[in-house]
């Protein structure tokens, strides 16, 4: 069982790095969305510093949404997803491996590029540590919840339009706690409580989301 999951992990990582453009697109999108705000609202650094935590986090949510298409779509189109569901190993494990790969190639890079955006948006220096910390802790939640939406919409032609409708409401607690953790850091307050909440939410989604995704995939494949 371990061996096959390792093989799946390797295969997915390899596939992801073979098409680097797909990996870079969400990152570039993240960068662009964040740089729209100074143009649209005001380049005043003080003002930008105030809205920076929220802007960066909203950008991260949208970039994740954009990258969720990578999760199951190509496997569905070439039929390998169906074969994976037929494997003797539990679908649950397959989903967890795929979500892990998605997080490594789409969620983790967001955390590393975010400080750059923080600099551009004039985020006060106290905000950088919580920004990195919340992104590291909470982007797995985004991948896990997003996998449910990706699983439900995988066979649909208009799936891309549907996914934000399904997933964004579920992202709201993450957005609230993560961006206020960054704000607390900016003000010099402790943000341990926020991190604890995000950790609890991660634990919950880790339990619920793979089960829901696995059954969503089974429904979508039976189509």
């Amino acid at each position: 069982m371990n061996g096959s999951m390792k093989a799946l992990f390797k295969r997915d990582m390899l596939l992801a790095f073979r098409s680097r453009g797909d990996l870079l697109n969400p990152l570039m999108f993240f960068l662009m969305v964040a740089s729209l705000f100074p143009l649209a609202v005001s380049p005043d650094p003080l003002f930008l510093g105030q809205i920076a935590p929220g802007v960066i986090w909203v950008g991260a949510l949208l970039a994740t949404l954009l990258s969720l298409d990578l999760l199951f779509k190509s496997d569905f189109e070439d039929g390998s997803l169906e074969q994976m569901l037929l494997m003797p190993q539990p679908t649950l494990l397959m989903v967890i491996v795929k979500v892990l790969v998605h997080w490594l190639v789409a969620g983790l890079p967001l955390a590393f590029i975010a400080p750059l955006l923080g600099l551009m948006l004039g985020l006060p220096s106290g905000g950088f540590a919580p920004l990195m910390a919340t992104l590291l802790l909470a982007t797995p939640i985004l991948s896990l919840l997003g996998a449910i939406g990706a699983g439900l919409t995988v066979g649909l032609r208009k799936g891309g339009m549907l996914m934000p409708l399904l997933i964004l409401p579920l992202y709201i607690p993450v957005l609230i706690f993560a961006s206020s953790a960054v704000q607390a850091g900016v003000l010099g307050n402790s943000y341990v409580g926020h991190m604890a909440f995000l950790g609890a939410y991660l634990a919950l989604t880790l339990v619920v989301a793979p089960v829901a995704t696995a059954s969503a995939l089974r429904i979508s494949i039976a189509r």
Binding site: I148, L162, P169, P173, L204, A222
Partner: protein, 257 residues
């Protein structure tokens, strides 16, 4: 007890039985609901004392609160019906889940509209990012997601199952969303006026509210029954019992036979 429960469950699974029983129950629910609504609304609007702070504008509570409560419990009912359908493969319960979705969404819209109308005289604006308004808005978004799934997936069985999963995930998230929105709200707006959260409400204000709440639930049942029967007639249009029903139905023109 157990066997009779099981029998009830199997009966509930039969579209024909559900059609017949809901046809028989609907008028009673309608009657009781209308009586309660009439009493509650007349009492609330004409006889309940005016609020010492808000004057007469608080009276919209008799529509606003029942709509909000019901739209929340409708989501839970929808998720529960979806769960029953997914676990025990009961088609009837998928039908009920499907018909609840637009009803719940429209109740959420009604709650938001009446909230906005209430907010205008009380807060001076139509919309405030108050915790309850915000979580109601997110509930509406959750309903939109479920409705969007029904619209997007053509195969009926798949659509039912997919919507069931989404509703279950959403209902797990509802308490978390509610809590986090409330927490966010206390962080950003400590000075909001809370209205419905008054610890003690005078009984002559509260009893009519209770009546309208129960009345709303009865009307909701009538509404769900009616939509379910429509849906059943369409789904089962090729079966014998529907054909018999149509043939034996009393027609207005009565030209044939």
């Amino acid at each position: 007890m157990w066997t009779s429960l099981k029998r009830l469950y199997h009966k509930m699974g039969s579209p024909k039985w559900f059609y017949e029983i809901s046809t028989r129950w609907s008028p009673w629910f309608l009657l009781v609901g209308s009586a309660l609504m009439l009493t509650g609304v007349v009492w609330g609007l004409a006889f309940a004392p005016a609020d010492y702070l808000q004057g007469n504008s608080f009276r919209i509570i008799y529509i606003h609160v029942p709509a909000s409560l019901l739209s929340q419990s409708a989501y839970i009912m929808m998720a529960a019906a979806g769960l029953v359908g997914l676990v025990w493969k009961m088609k009837m319960s998928f039908v009920v889940a499907k018909v609840i979705a637009p009803i719940g969404a429209s109740l959420a819209i009604m709650s938001l509209l009446t909230g906005a109308i209430w907010g205008k005289p009380t807060w001076g604006t139509w919309w405030v990012w108050d915790a309850r308004l915000t979580s109601m808005l997110i509930l509406l978004f959750l309903y939109f997601g479920v409705i969007a799934i029904y619209n997007a997936i053509e195969n009926e069985e798949m659509a039912n199952k997919a919507a069931g999963i989404l509703a279950i995930v959403g209902s797990i998230n509802i308490p978390i969303i509610k809590y986090s929105v409330e927490w966010w709200n206390t962080l950003h707006q400590p000075a909001t006026i809370t209205m419905t959260k008054k610890p003690t409400m005078a009984p002559e204000m509260f009893i009519p509210l209770l009546l309208t709440i129960i009345g709303f639930y009865c009307w909701f049942a009538v509404w769900v029954f009616a939509r379910t029967r429509n849906e059943l007639l369409w789904r089962e249009r090729r079966t014998k019992w529907v054909k018999n029903l149509v043939i034996n139905a009393p027609t207005n023109s009565g030209a044939h036979q």
